[in-house]
């Protein structure tokens, strides 16, 4: 189960850090992550390109 942590980047934009089961870490814009969640019922952090 991926671990998700919210943060704001230095521009004040909402972002998330996602730690995957395989140890890889994705961080980026929260809006992109949420769009991925909406499109994929079982998202992986590094699937945010789809």
């Amino acid at each position: 189960m991926a671990t998700v942590t919210n943060y704001q980047n230095l521009n004040g934009e909402d972002c998330v850090q996602v730690t995957n089961d395989d140890g890889s870490i994705w961080s980026g814009l929260k809006s992109v992550y949420e769009a991925t969640l909406a499109a994929n019922s079982a998202p992986q952090a590094n699937s945010t390109e789809s």
Partner: protein
């Protein structure tokens, strides 16, 4: 087919005046499976996880780099191994700046495909009338689907199918793989994928002409810093400064401008932030990006005074992928 196209085809097939390896002829990027910036094996689907630019469509499939079942002249292939009864499919979207050149044209899609159960391989091209439509979203229309016979070994010449691209096509997507479901444990292996103008498949060429050209094309969709050194002492370094006490900000320029600004980063491995000469292990976070450069930062794990210079070290075997640039 025009006379120029026919002449080109004949000359290429006979090894005549036109060189057989021609950059720009092939509209499929990484068709020879040369570039694997994300890794060489993954069971994930609905995204990009292994060979660059190849969208892994099907779930219950392990996608991996194949080096044995490859045709002469190729080092790698992309293999899908099923863990349930499922159709193995790979996809690639072609952005409008490239796809528009194919509008109204007859094109040929060819590739080398092998299936462990001798089931047929699949050719399909869809088009969208919207600019740069994402591969898994929006409205797409199927132009045609075609199947061709295959065997467990690679054919000596590629399977091929011809399509007529509508004149109003703005974005194209290609799906290839198995024509039907394969039982658990089945494999579908592909390489040498080429989409070209004309009704005849000519010898495979990398879209970028050379290995470096192909890597550059891939990095337009996935900027990446990958340190292939085996020793942790050999670090890739990027300059930055302490934007606040114990907070560091680094700039990472891209080797190739991205198609669109990345929206995130994927880290793998170990990263050091240097305060004066003391290295601290840090986990960089995505800050912001344009199509030319990204900034990453860390505000925990490092001891440094505001205003000091700092250096980000990407240790041997580690990588940063800049995501969000694919179609």
């Amino acid at each position: 087919m025009s006379r120029a196209q026919l002449t080109s085809t004949v000359e290429q097939n006979t090894g005549g005046a036109v060189a057989p390896f021609v950059g720009g002829k092939n509209f499929i990027i990484n068709g020879g499976m040369d570039v694997w910036q994300r890794g060489t094996s993954s069971s994930s689907s609905g995204g990009y996880y292994t060979a660059d630019r190849w969208y892994q469509v099907s779930g219950s499939v392990t996608y991996s780099q194949e080096t044995s079942i490859v045709p002469t002249g190729f080092q790698y292939a992309l293999k899908g191994t099923t863990s349930a009864s499922v159709q193995v499919l790979y996809g690639q979207a072609i952005e409008t700046a490239h796809a528009i050149r194919l509008a109204g044209q007859t094109v040929t899609l060819s590739y080398y495909g092998a299936t462990s159960d001798s089931s047929s391989v699949y050719f399909r091209i869809d088009y969208a009338t919207t600019v740069d439509q994402g591969i898994s979203s929006g409205t797409w229309t199927i132009i045609n689907t075609i199947t061709k016979s295959a065997t467990p070994t690679m054919p000596s010449s590629p399977q091929q199918a011809t399509f007529a691209i509508p004149s109003n096509a703005k974005t194209l997507r290609v799906f290839i793989g198995n024509a039907g479901s394969q039982a658990s444990g089945g494999t579908t292996t592909i390489t040498g994928v080429q989409l070209e103008v004309g009704s005849v498949a000519t010898p495979f060429s990398r879209a970028g002409g050379t290995l470096q050209g192909e890597l550059a094309l891939c990095q337009r969709y996935l900027p990446a810093i990958t340190n292939v050194q085996s020793s942790s002492n050999n670090t890739d370094s990027f300059n930055g400064y302490a934007y606040q006490t114990n907070g560091v900000l680094y700039s990472i320029p891209f080797s190739v401008p991205a198609r669109v600004p990345p929206t995130g980063i994927t880290l793998s491995g170990t990263f050091s932030g240097y305060g004066l000469n003391t290295p601290y292990t840090i986990t960089p976070l995505f800050n912001a990006a344009t199509n030319n450069v990204a900034t990453v930062y860390a505000s925990t794990g490092i001891t440094i005074t505001a205003g000091q210079g700092s250096r980000l070290g990407i240790l041997g075997g580690s990588s940063i992928l800049f995501t969000g640039c694919e179609l």
